[in-house]
């Protein structure tokens, strides 16, 4: 387990929960992150790092980086026990993941409470996903219960596990193996206080996951930045193809013909990655592929509108190309959002793929053929 700073008892032995101030013994030195560690709390089972509910600027910056996908993969806290406020042997134990963003959101919502936090080694992944992947699991919980010796820390036998953790944890098996009783808390840590006040009962609303606009939009940046690397390679290649003329690569063709094609491609990605999540409930049918296809039709329509100004867009091969490839790109990227949505199931995604994949592949092949036909006709070979 983690080392705690020895000088802990002097500066933050018993601050009241509402006036916690980071003190001189904060240990930000270690590479393993212990967010906003104030000091350690001396307990019967040894020193336990005491943390604050407050977010530092680094915590906020970290959250932003996670949201845009630049730091998601390596944002962890050391698994184990933490103290928030001044917990004792009767205090509640909240189980969570060791994804730092998850951990930070939990401690923020525990403001004013005295509690223990038990962070499982979910490999830096949030509770729900980790539970689905098997790192936030019955085995891991049992392991941490034993490793931390929490039995000797608290008098009761209650562990509060977030409801979405139930995907990976068998409450009855944990009880069987450790004697601890798993109580499923609300989905959102924001509801923990009322859950506790309500005698550890979550209301129906707290148990139901919604997928409102704001939650969908929070997921957009990650969806949005994922396809761009592939897009850059493809764009470079496309520009080259369009620049390629019988007498070499001509720069003006890259701009005149290649660039509009690439820009329309970018629009079709935005349609799939941004408009599908944003307009999810109002796009037609329940199929994400068809939702993506529908909104993807804006790209060939834009091409049609601008064909008066951009000659290449009035070429018959390119017109067909626009109607085939762009809605397909939006459809494909829209379908990816099933992975982030809170209500799609694996059987449904499989069904969509079974029907969609052959169509996607066919569209790509047709698009390539159309570009070849376009080039051949432009070179007057056809």
């Amino acid at each position: 387990m983690k080392k705690s700073e020895g000088s802990g008892s002097e500066c933050c032995s018993t601050p009241s929960p509402n006036e916690q101030q980071p003190c001189s013994c904060s240990s930000e030195k270690t590479k393993e992150q212990q967010p906003s560690v104030l000091c350690s709390t001396d307990t019967v089972i040894g020193n336990i790092p005491k943390i604050s509910f407050k977010w530092s600027w680094a915590d906020r910056w970290g959250q932003i980086k996670c949201r845009i996908g630049s730091r998601r993969d390596d944002y962890k806290v050391t698994p184990g026990l933490y103290a928030i406020g001044t917990p004792d042997e009767n205090s509640d134990v909240f189980v969570t993941a060791n994804y730092k963003l998850t951990f930070d959101i939990l401690r923020k919502h525990l403001k004013g409470m005295n509690a223990w936090i038990l962070a499982l080694d979910s490999k830096g992944i949030n509770v729900w996903c980790a539970a689905g992947k098997g790192t936030f699991s019955t085995e891991e919980l049992i392991k941490q219960i034993k490793k931390t010796n929490i039995k000797n820390l608290v008098k009761h036998n209650k562990l509060i596990v977030p409801q979405l953790g139930a995907v990976g944890i068998s409450a009855h098996k944990v009880t069987e193996k450790t004697g601890f009783k798993v109580i499923y808390g609300p989905i959102k840590s924001a509801n923990i206080k009322s859950f506790v006040e309500n005698n550890y009962n979550a209301t129906e609303k707290m148990r139901k996951i919604e997928f409102p606009l704001i939650d969908r939009l929070l997921l957009v940046p990650v969806e949005f930045f994922q396809p761009w690397k592939k897009f850059l390679y493809l764009s470079a290649f496309t520009l080259l193809i369009f620049g390629l003329q019988p007498n070499g690569i001509i720069f003006s063709y890259i701009f005149k013909e290649g660039l509009p094609i690439v820009i329309l491609g970018a629009i079709s990605i935005v349609a799939g990655a941004v408009l599908v999540p944003a307009l999810l409930p109002i796009l037609p049918t329940r199929s994400f592929a068809i939702k993506g296809f529908t909104i993807g039709l804006i790209t060939p329509i834009l091409a049609l509108i601008f064909s008066g100004y951009i000659p290449v867009l009035s070429n018959v091969y390119i017109i067909i190309f626009c109607w085939i490839l762009y809605p397909m790109i939006s459809s494909y990227i829209g379908l990816q959002f099933t992975g982030a949505s809170t209500f799609t199931n694996m059987s449904g995604v499989k069904k969509e793929l079974k029907m969609g994949l052959p169509i996607y592949i066919l569209c790509v092949v047709l698009s390539i053929i159309l570009i070849i036909l376009f080039k051949l006709s432009a070179w007057r070979i056809l």
């Binding site: 992947k133 409801q163 949505s341 799609t344 694996m346």
Partner: protein, 89 residues
């Protein structure tokens, strides 16, 4: 919002059920409800196959095929012939 119709693999065996209500607690989509002390499925199409109910049913009264519901992971699974896993998300 509800996903595709008639695809969820959720199965509930009422003969094994003791009405302990654990499934009602863990399901994030209120797929289970209780009437006259008997648990029933409200709407199977609401099921996202997360498997929380199955995992927490002491009496094995629920089965459901669970797995990664992420398209890219499933495509990778199809292409490589391995089980879908989502290490990237």
């Amino acid at each position: 919002m509800i996903y595709l119709k008639n695809v969820a693999t959720l199965q509930f065996f009422s003969d094994k059920c003791t009405s302990c209500k654990m499934c009602m607690k863990v399901c994030p989509h209120k797929v289970f409800d209780i009437k006259e002390n008997k648990i029933y499925i409200t709407d199977k199409d609401k099921c996202m196959e997360c498997g929380a109910c199955m995992k927490n049913c002491k009496f094995d009264a629920i089965t459901v095929d669970t797995g990664v519901g992420c398209a890219e992971a499933l495509i990778r699974g199809i292409l490589t012939g391995k089980e879908a896993c989502c290490d990237n998300c």
